[in-house]
Amino acid sequence: MRLIKLRNAQEELVGFGIIIVLVAIIALIFLGIGLRSPSEMKNSLEVSDFIYSSLSYSVDCQEQITNINDLIVACYNSKGCKQGESCELLKSTYEDMIESSLRIGNEMKYKAYIFRVFSGDNTLVFLDNGNKTGSLTGASARILSGETINVSLVLYY
């Protein structure tokens, strides 16, 4: 009689264990889906337009360096400007342009950004600001001048 009771209790425990494992597996699957979604970056047409339009923006550097596109190539080739380093001018121009045109801030549409101008492993300009949490959107553009230089902008919203 005692042996039958013990066996019944064991069966109950096994059933309970199976249910716990089943619930845990399902919860893990949903947690995985929930955590994976926000980190995926959406390609944005608006950000892409921003990058390509900004490349034509006029800068006061040298006779031959009239816009951002030329300035990026000059920065890559370590050429200077009238007022100093081309990379410094590039950095300050983009910093000002991104923050005033895209209006980055906690109460705004975009909360934070990461901006990079790079060629392979060589980073020419790196800018970031704001509270980097939430979903991502962004785009990148390529400038061809002997070497490929990439311009990328990621926004958090």
């Binding site: 399902i26 929930g34 979604s37 921003f50 339009s53 034509s56 006029s58 009239t66 816009n67 045109s101």
Partner: protein, 163 residues
């Protein structure tokens, strides 16, 4: 006694099955809500992309373009502003271009008397809601006797009626 114990066992199994079924229904509802939210987000972003593509196609029209992609000629805009006959030609309820960088505190509509010291070009007024994207806003300027293209960063917005 045995019959009562059997009934209790059946009852226990039935409750367990009911709880499991409820649990799976909850999971299903949760999954459906995630999927629906995802679909709504995708639909909204697709609508936005479609609208931006429409704006891009307008910005690319010969009447606006400065000859390269993502670029609007502000000298052309000044001429278009004065041509009222063109109002019905544009495939949008309103078209407005604004200089966004360098930034200025107040909006100054461009006229022949203040151009280029202004920041807003209203080609066609109207439309309840608007969608826009970035463009380069370029003009020709004479610097030290040489003609040079000067570009700012602008934003073109087209308006449409909300159905």
């Amino acid at each position: 006694m045995v019959n009562k114990k059997g009934q209790f066992k059946i009852q226990q199994t039935a409750f367990m099955l009911l709880a499991l079924a409820l649990f799976f229904i909850l999971i299903f509802v949760f999954w459906i809500s995630i999927k629906t939210h995802g679909m709504k987000t995708t639909a909204t972003s697709l609508e936005e992309e479609k609208a931006i593509l429409a704006v891009e196609s307008i910005a690319g029209l010969t009447e606006f373009s400065c000859g390269k992609q993502y670029c609007i000629d502000s000298d052309k805009l000044m001429i278009l502003k004065s041509m009222k006959d063109y109002a019905d030609f544009w495939p949008a309820n309103s078209i407005k271009i604004r200089k966004v960088y360098p930034e200025s505190n107040k909006e100054v509509e461009c006229t022949l008397s203040n151009y280029p010291n202004c920041n807003s070009y209203t080609i066609k007024a109207g439309g309840e809601s608007s969608v826009g994207t970035f463009v380069a806003l370029c003009r020709q300027e004479r610097i030290n006797g040489n003609s040079r293209q000067v570009c700012d960063l602008g934003r073109i917005a087209i308006g449409y009626d909300v159905k």
